[in-house]
Symmetry: C2
């Protein structure tokens, strides 16, 4: 399927803005009904969705997409059912819109509070995984927003089929179709045009590789929350339980190496390096993990260890490769993370509570851990329900970002004729 | 005093970034000591600050600045003491940095929480009022940030003198001078260069007129929180207590007409217009307020009322002028505010709780009120302490923005060797 000629994006965004007002004012039960209906439509239309997806996969194969890309693109009955299940889980999350928070009376009887409200129109720009189309639409609706979705060209037919299911679900709840708009163009210029509509769009979330995120940041006039890469660190402190450290290293690196919360660099305190590095090297050799180490690591870990360069400290491998460095102490570990980290997730292994407290406090990344696997840095694991992604932008939402991250608050003031003197 | 040649802004920002790390990690008592010392320096250096300010005022007079501009620029002993007092009040606000929030254990014993942390380096770009230099510096320090301040050319000498007091206060607490950097240039190009340093600056807050804010939004690559204009509405509902409505109209318009939370437009429900408009017109005539009304208002209010045009619905007069329009009902009031409002502050006067609830819920502005004067839309009044301004950007901080708005949160995870399966 080919994309039509460049659409009038300003007109699409204008319609999305009008729809956002309707969604924001719709009762919670209407939005809930829409989400349940979308899940139902995904199930009812499974055959046509999988058919469209098979077409995308075939096109991708013919164009020589990598096996990893094809895997991200591919839907099957199990994956599609998981997508529908996620929509139902989002529908059943607690309602956010109109929630009154931080209520406090003043001494003079003026009542102050904040009310949680939608952001408005949210543009999400992403790449190959078609499930993002449904996750993003569902989270935006849950939070009372309209969504403008611009997926990747390789998933165009899949996204159109998923979009039809979403549209049918919206219609059955009486919500306007523009509440979820799929940009009918996979042209990169469409992204540029979209992110400059700052009178109509309240937020743009780019999700994808470095190239996409840079492109959005460069052209955007709307606020942007970046979902950038994860160069996650595990720091094995001098007072670490080495069995625990080995288990956390293995879990963080091997359980699912292709995701952003996997470990990319392990820092080993010099005090425990002679005891730990040989065990780590042996275990990772068994697991098929390539280790790239500094001189000390290579001396302690054996001939199989590749010499690391500065590029390795910056690398997000997303693969069975890990960089390992020996550091003098906690200060050196903090300095390494400050220099090379990506503000995603870092974990310290230690039995020393003072060292842990300093690490938790001083590391500025969006998720910081003590004696836990970096793999927990995920909205579902951290109690947010489904996530729209992991923000590496400090403003508004930092770290895993769920439906609440797609809202803001306004101030509410109730008086009995109070005037200011 | 003339500004030196364009400084190396990237180098200044790099130093600010290094200083931000020191400020973020400094104990609360060190930042408290710095703020107390800054207040002391402002008092000790009052003579030289007022002298520098007198020079700016004389230059401004020679250049033909308006009386209003000169008033905003002018410091006197009372105003300077108020600035010092505000710094002490900020120092004594509760500590934010490192505060643990939303702690919750998971069933498997993993402990989740969020920790409040500074944003990093904050650039504030503003116009004539020199007190902003001190307020902004104090709020940024309170929240653990470094500040880069770029004030207006008309206040250059005043800002330099205030900056010297701030630098002395920082030094006496052992904090680096780059924790508060005054850009030594009043060139507009310096603003453009500054707001493109997205690898060094975490947030830019423009405070000032429409021209300045547009300029920043157009050139920025760093996140921007706009402090835009306030076209604030008072809606006199059909079920309003008209005595209360009159008092709120007077307080909102007259108490301090030159500020952004003053009323600019009064919407009168058709049901009460015959009873209310004549009283409003008579009272405002006594107070010297020019009323610009639609045809119904003119018919009811008498010959002194000027005919309003669409420009009046959009106007932020900041003066003793008010636009008055009769609307059919609550829906029409909501539509008018949606069309003409600036997301700042709106208030409904009514004894009908259902109408009030709908207004509070459906008006999307950053502060929405019931039976209260719009003049309460202010960080001090709404319990935030001093404010850096009033955000009309929905992201991160919407409405009055205090020290907390200059922070973010990170996720904290504590386990006992927890791995993900």
């Amino acid at each position: 399927m080919t994309a039509p000629a460049t659409p009038d994006l300003r007109e699409l965004a204008r319609q999305a803005r009008a729809a956002a007002r309707v969604v924001a004012r719709a009762p919670a039960e209407v939005r809930h009904r829409a989400l349940v209906a979308i899940a139902g439509e995904l199930r009812a239309r499974a055959a046509s969705i999988l058919d469209a997806n098979a077409g995308d996969v075939a096109t991708g194969q013919a164009r020589g997409l990598s096996a990893a890309m094809l895997d991200r693109l591919r839907l099957d009955p199990g994956r599609l059912e998981a997508v529908a299940g996620a929509v139902l889980a989002i529908a059943d999350q607690p309602e956010l819109v109109g929630r009154v928070e931080r209520a406090e009376p003043r001494a003079d009887g003026l009542e102050l509070a904040r009310m949680r409200i939608p952001l408005g129109v949210i543009a999400i720009v992403y790449e190959s995984r078609p499930n993002v189309t449904v996750d993003a639409a569902a989270l935006c609706l849950k939070a009372g927003n309209a969504a403008i979705l611009r997926g990747g060209s390789e998933a165009f037919a899949s996204n159109q089929a998923l979009g039809a299911a979403i549209a049918a679900g919206l219609a059955s709840a009486g919500l306007p179709p523009a509440a979820v708009t799929l940009v009918p163009s996979t042209d990169r210029d469409a992204i540029r045009e979209l992110v400059q509509l700052d009178d109509l769009i309240d937020l743009c979330i780019p999700r994808g590789g470095e190239g996409l995120i840079r492109y959005v940041a460069e052209h955007a006039r709307v606020p942007v929350i970046k979902h950038y890469k994860g160069v996650c660190h595990l720091y094995v402190h001098a007072a670490a339980d080495l069995d625990m450290a080995l288990a956390l290293a293995e879990n963080g690196k091997v359980q699912r190496p292709g995701v952003c919360n996997a470990i990319e660099t392990i820092l080993v305190d010099r005090a425990v390096a002679p005891a730990f590095v040989p065990r780590l090297a042996a275990r990772f050799a068994e697991l098929g993990v390539e280790v790239r180490g500094d001189a000390t690591v290579r001396a302690l870990g054996g001939a199989a260890i590749v010499a690391a360069t500065d590029d390795d400290w910056a690398a997000e491998y997303l693969d069975l490769i890990v960089a390992v460095r020996v550091v003098d102490d906690l200060d050196a570990a903090l300095a390494h993370i400050e220099r090379w980290g990506s503000d995603h997730t870092e974990s310290i292994v230690t039995a020393d509570d003072a060292a842990a407290a300093r690490f938790l406090r001083e590391v500025g990344s969006s998720t910081v851990m003590h004696n836990a696997s970096t793999r927990f840095a995920d909205g579902g694991q951290l109690g947010l329900g489904a996530e729209i992604g992991i923000s590496t932008t400090r403003l508004h939402a930092y770290g895993p970002m769920g439906a609440e991250g797609l809202t803001t608050t306004k101030f509410i003031v109730r008086g009995q004729g109070h005037v200011r003197t």
